[in-house]
């Protein structure tokens, strides 16, 4: 089938361009840009709305195995499609974790339930206990795109350095969570005026800097490919800059929540605003937005973390951290666009092009020959978010009741319409 998107506003993260144009899809791939509709094509009039590569969301938690009541591949896939996410990079911190080739084969089979592309990360150490590395070779051969223990820091530097050395030989990418495990233990907020006033156990932003410095030193030792899942404080940026300058193969991400919310949003102990790492100061938030604009931070992701009501209906420090984000990533990102901080191509560079490139995926591009993973959206359409309209099984979003802009009108995966 041939499809022709006409009268579109094309968001090209490679050329960093945002211009009117048309796009033709044939056999699941982008066949042409800026041409007239070929004969027999199904014409889709975009009415000047934005057409961009589908989002590649790096760090999605799905409750399979172990917590399917919180999220299944099916429910997450539907939420992704509704949110313009065409590739989910799924986390291994399940119950039990994805730490064997057998476990990876299981989730890879289950992933067929979702209407969008799915790639899996595997745990870095067995049972995510930080003691023994997983079978990185087998898991890599089976298609694991990266190895991570999630927010659990591998505290034993010998274990981590060996896992990194081994991964280097295989060519595997390791994703670290830069944090000093000792300092951040038990913390639910960032230390400062807010945490002190509300009496919440807190951690200094320096814990992230210490963790990052340590991890980057080990990367320098092993030469492995490494990615920081979330950089959230300004003080961490110089270390990242130094590492890149030294030629280390490193990249960094951040979460949409740390780009759009700050510590004061927690307000009256609202547990939907509890994150790992915790929300930061406004200064740090602004520094992160600037770092994305400058390309110092490569990736923006939702870190979609479904939690059931019982996990959140608790005192703030006892509540489970994390928020769902597949469907709110795009409208939340529009806040950064409308504030003038980031252009749409800059956003899509961080939400689609960079994660795809770093993970070696054929996605995230709006150019001839690229797969037709597309999202058509209206960046301006306003709405008030009702969390119970979300397609995710879990409804824990900090944006409940928030006034937002940015509606997904349609999502295509390999040329097939999966939403709208």
């Amino acid at each position: 089938m041939i499809m022709h998107f006409q009268n579109a506003r094309l968001i090209d993260p490679e050329g960093l361009s945002d211009e009117p144009g048309s796009l033709t899809v044939e056999n699941g791939r982008i066949a042409a840009l800026g041409t007239d509709a070929p004969e027999g094509a199904t014409v889709i009039d975009c009415n000047g709305r934005a057409l961009a590569p589908g989002i590649v969301d790096w760090g999605v938690k799905i409750g399979e195995p172990g917590e399917r009541h919180k999220e299944s591949f099916r429910s997450a896939g539907l939420a992704a499609a509704a949110g313009g996410v065409t590739t989910m990079i799924v986390r291994p911190d399940t119950v039990p974790p994805i730490d064997t080739p057998e476990a990876l084969e299981f989730v890879a089979r289950r992933a067929a339930d979702a209407p969008v592309h799915i790639r899996h990360m595997a745990a870095l150490t067995k049972a995510r206990e930080g003691r023994e590395m997983v079978e990185i070779g087998f898991l890599y051969d089976l298609g694991a795109v990266a190895f991570t223990d999630g927010v659990r820091v591998v505290t034993d530097t010998k274990v981590l350095s060996r896992a990194m050395a081994y991964a280097k030989g295989i060519g595997a990418l390791i994703v670290g969570h830069p944090q000093d495990a000792g300092l951040s233990k038990g913390a639910a907020a960032t230390s400062g005026k807010f945490a002190s006033l509300y009496g919440i156990p807190a951690v200094s932003p320096m814990a992230e800097v210490i963790g990052l410095d340590r991890d980057l030193s080990l990367v320098a030792m092993s030469g492995c490919r490494w990615h920081a899942d979330q950089i959230t404080v300004a003080d961490a940026l110089p270390a990242l800059r130094r590492a890149r300058k030294a030629g280390l193969d490193v990249s960094a991400g951040t979460s949409i929540h740390h780009l759009t919310l700050n510590e004061f949003d927690v307000g009256d102990y609202r547990t939907f605003f509890r994150f790992t790492p915790p929300l930061r100061s406004e200064d740090d938030r602004l520094a992160m937005v600037q770092a994305v604009a400058d390309g110092e931070i490569d990736v923006i992701a939702s870190f979609h973390t479904p939690q059931d009501e019982e996990s959140k209906r608790l005192p703030f420090e006892a509540a489970a951290p994390g928020a769902v984000g597949l469907q709110t990533l795009l409208p939340a990102a529009m806040r950064l666009y409308h504030s003038g901080a980031l252009s749409l191509p800059q956003l899509w560079r961080a939400m689609a092009l960079n994660p795809a490139k770093r993970l070696g995926l054929d996605a995230g591009r709006l150019s001839k020959g690229a797969p037709a993973d597309l999202v058509l959206f209206d960046p301006d359409a306003p709405f008030v978010l009702d969390r119970f309209t979300l397609k995710s099984k879990s409804k824990n979003t900090p944006f409940d009741g928030a006034r937002m802009q940015g509606k997904v009108l349609g999502t295509w995966v390999a040329g097939e319409r999966v939403f709208g």
């Binding site: 067995k126 003691r131 023994e132 079978e135 070779g137 087998f138 060996r162 050395a165 081994y166 030989g169």
Partner: protein, 323 residues
């Protein structure tokens, strides 16, 4: 004769002429060992003490047999169960033994450099039978003899050493010896088992075994030295075998007449496929054991000759012959 060393502590101290001298002499012992009467008087009347501070069966047996076939009085001490347990230092043990006037001391020790230390304190010839992860010279020499007999030469060969390089004294001695004889050396194994800076020693390092084996004339497998590891170098034995274990499929990438070596003891199904290890057309593992006795006989013979010459000079007094 070109062999002037007093001790055999490592390959590092030997030059190519000395290596060739030793291998040539070992050839004669290979022949001797095939006879019904395997006896020589090269060490007649001399005392050889084997001191193994680390458990060993095959090396100790090989040295014991070598000494006996040369006519020496051989005593093997399993030091793991003796005075060391009572707190004696290595140097005191050495001095005690030295007082018994041995002529050849064969020593294995779990710590690198320990045999060198001991050699400084005794009046006899010392053979290093393996110190920590440092050197194991007779293993490298027997490997060299095996290669020379199988390939017809000991130079300009492509030799792949695979597996646990980091913990292997066999690898170090082989690297030195085969490097001195001008061969092309490749090291293959996981990064966790590859010592740092090893590429600077003139070898090529490969992560991918298939790449590293391409066109190799000799494939030398090493044992995964679990006892020298403090855990966590590899994720599992099954993954190790899958990526770095030698099987027929991987060996097919080497030269069609490539030989397969292993210093033993083998972990079948971990670093080498059992069927391949038994394949008499490719595996020279049994030859290595046979060469081991001959090489050790040659080494002890040469050291004994030097020892006699040295003592002869001492008896004659200094300056008597050379003015």
């Amino acid at each position: 004769m070109t062999f002037r060393a007093r001790h055999l502590l490592g390959i590092d101290h030997l030059g190519p002429p000395e290596i060739v001298t030793l291998l040539d002499l070992a050839e004669t012992y290979v022949d001797l060992n095939k006879r019904t009467v395997k006896h020589s008087d090269a060490l007649a009347g001399m005392t050889q003490i084997n001191m193994f501070f680390e458990n060993s069966t095959r090396t100790q047996a090989s040295f014991e047999l070598a000494g006996k076939r040369l006519g020496a009085d051989v005593m093997s001490m399993s030091v793991a169960h003796s005075s060391v347990k009572k707190g004696e230092t290595l140097i005191d043990t050495a001095l005690t033994l030295n007082a018994m006037h041995p002529d050849i001391l064969v020593v294995r020790h779990p710590q690198s450099g320990a045999v060198n230390l001991l050699a400084e304190k005794v009046n006899c010839a010392v053979i290093n039978a393996g110190d920590g992860r440092h050197e194991h010279p007779t293993q490298a020499l027997l490997d060299a003899l095996t290669i020379r007999r199988a390939k017809g030469r000991l130079h300009r060969l492509t030799i792949a050493i695979c597996g646990d390089i980091a913990h292997s004294r066999v690898a170090r001695s082989n690297l030195i010896l085969l490097g001195k004889m001008e061969n092309r050396l490749r090291l293959i194994g996981p990064r966790t088992l590859m010592p740092a800076g090893v590429a600077d020693l003139g070898c090529e390092v490969y992560d991918d075994m298939r790449e590293g084996l391409k066109g190799a004339d000799v494939v030398m497998m090493l044992r995964l030295q679990r006892e020298r590891m403090d855990g966590g170098f590899i994720p599992s034995e099954r993954e190790y075998f899958h990526r770095w274990g030698l099987d027929a499929e991987k060996l097919a990438l080497a030269a069609p007449d490539a030989i397969v070596m292993h210093p033993g003891p083998m972990n079948r199904g971990v670093e080498i496929d059992g069927t391949l290890a038994d394949d008499i057309n490719r595996s020279v593992i049994q030859d290595q054991v046979e060469m081991g006795v001959a090489v050790r006989m040659a080494a002890m013979d040469l050291l004994a000759r030097n020892l006699r010459a040295e003592r002869g000079r001492a008896l004659a007094g200094p300056g008597l012959w050379d003015g």
